[in-house]
Symmetry: C2
Amino acid sequence: MPGQRSRSVSSPTVAEVAAEAGVGKATAARTLGNYGAVSPAARARVLAAAEKLGYRPNSLARSMTTGITQTIGVIVADVGNPFFAGVMRGIADACEATDYTAIVMSTDEKLATEQAAVGVLIDKQVDALIIASAALRPNETAHILEAMSRRIPVVLIDRKVRGLDLDAVVINNRESARDAVRQFIEWGHRRIAFVWGPALPDALPDRRRLLASAENWLWSETERLRGYVDALDEAGIPLDPALVSTCAHNEEATVGAVGDMLAMPDPPTAVLTTETDAMVGALRAIRAAGLRHPRDISVIGFDDSSWASVIEPPLTMIAQPMLELGRAAAQHAFARIAGDDGDAVIETIPSTFVSRASVAPLKSVAPLKEDAVSADGAR
Amino acid sequence: MPGQRSRSVSSPTVAEVAAEAGVGKATAARTLGNYGAVSPAARARVLAAAEKLGYRPNSLARSMTTGITQTIGVIVADVGNPFFAGVMRGIADACEATDYTAIVMSTDEKLATEQAAVGVLIDKQVDALIIASAALRPNETAHILEAMSRRIPVVLIDRKVRGLDLDAVVINNRESARDAVRQFIEWGHRRIAFVWGPALPDALPDRRRLLASAENWLWSETERLRGYVDALDEAGIPLDPALVSTCAHNEEATVGAVGDMLAMPDPPTAVLTTETDAMVGALRAIRAAGLRHPRDISVIGFDDSSWASVIEPPLTMIAQPMLELGRAAAQHAFARIAGDDGDAVIETIPSTFVSRASVAPLKSVAPLKEDAVSADGAR
DNA sequence: CTGTTAGCGCTTTCAT
DNA sequence: ATGAAAGCGCTAACAG
């Protein structure tokens, strides 16, 4: 009786199963661990014993000797954000299909948190790491290099990191933004706002300084700004830094930033937002100014959502393939784990332009007084 | 040289640090693991040696001997769903504050997947489990009982599971739904739809059978239906099963289900939806029928989202405290890990009724012809 | 095909 | 306060 009691609390081990089956420990281990060769007879006995005792393998012990944990670490800014949640789901799906398991950590876009997270995951011996890094410059990548030096494959997701030659799965940010802005331009818009570059302390007075500053933004933001500028340049439209928001990354701040733009003497007639909350903020500012989209102002935003189709009129959006991004990242990780040591590959998954009804032709009513001129002598 | 090479590939161990520091293995282990007592002198030498060698603890080995992994397993239907993503974020935050780590798995609401997930997490020796279970009946809980029998604390989140006496963190589903329906009733509505009960094979012809069937729904759905019925009963409004949707849980199906309701001779004048996608589907159906909210039909939905404030007119919603749910669940888990073996506690976190503008008084234009009567002889 | 024997890196008695 | 030695549950060599 006492013996039985103690048995129920701690799981039986391979040795106990072996004893019960009347075979050696190794034979039991081989059948239970599905490796090596075991005679059908012995195998059956072991299985029966295991069943009877309620044997469950101890993954920890197994990982300890094999050095593989069947676990990958995932580090993103915020699991609660729909974008990363989607990515996470893609990763989780890929993991389930391969019997991997995912540990997630949120960094809130803080480098220190990210560094700590990488440390924890290294110590937990994850087989690979997928990171949407907050690192902006090569000198902020020590933690990632540390992981690499410990032979842990790292794949970047959503953002490349300058100075790191690693697998990365991203979308075509630059082209997506460029296409959206081209769309605006085709409909006659010339005052086009770019909402939600990163929070910047000071204003960026001119093109040169804006572009220089952009080199230190999150890669994806930089790319989107580049696409915006590309389209403007193609059309010979001067870049007005006042139309590039540098407010905090939250809905409230965006309401303010867009509100300010709308109060300018020559306000934007079109707005490109780079994230869901930015779109919500922009829409609120537009309403607050007594305007309606797309009648008074056209809008396009990154990150489609089911809501976008239900807003009236429905919103034209740039849908990011979040699940795909996650799945692809996981697959790269698996390939590296499997020993692939080829050159780093950048996988660019295209976004989808979901055309709905939030872009309209520029009204030809003369909205500008003569004195409300753009910064440079535009053509 | 060769010695150095091999050192860089595999991390140094406690023994190596001890050797470098010129102390015994145990002393090194004690300082590195922060336990026991070590003289300041020895401590300093060990730390220096560790630093020099770039020592990192092997969590696996530690967990193996201590039996604690500082890891909790989280099982939800879909990490990509905004609700669970929010919950996940709450859990992640709580984990970060306590140096725990979270493994997430999505089940897609499939019991078999959930069972497998629990198995994996047990094998990985998680210190606790947080589950939004898909189990509906006591006979579907074997996997959870298994975890419990292995002394792994389990806390349920979002849904209680019938027959399981476990800690659970949930919202006040019944009251929330009841209050929403009361709201409708106060404004004069009597034909009120409940959208997105679970997918059911056959129609539920009468009240008795509907309520009986509801006993086998996900607990949260059952509760919400109860709240709906409560409010109807209070007001003496007969329950019409045709106004309770039993379509598949996706936006598209909801469009169809609500569309059908709107085509009835005495269509609903108010709709309560129990999830984000249901609201989006309902709104689409409403539009498709050429109606507008709240002029023609009032709506309230579970799960607030920033979008709801930007829909025109903005939507009245029942906001679930997702972060809070996650945080609370994690805290219960930690308490159990710490040894709390008190009775199971149910923590009910109230939802917030976000009143906006999607509810309007019932138009008193006579919408019903004499023959379009409600099912029973209502008062 | 099978059993015996060593560890994996750490914590934990138990002496000293 | 410290060191020696045992052992966690498993896999991996190595004999038979």
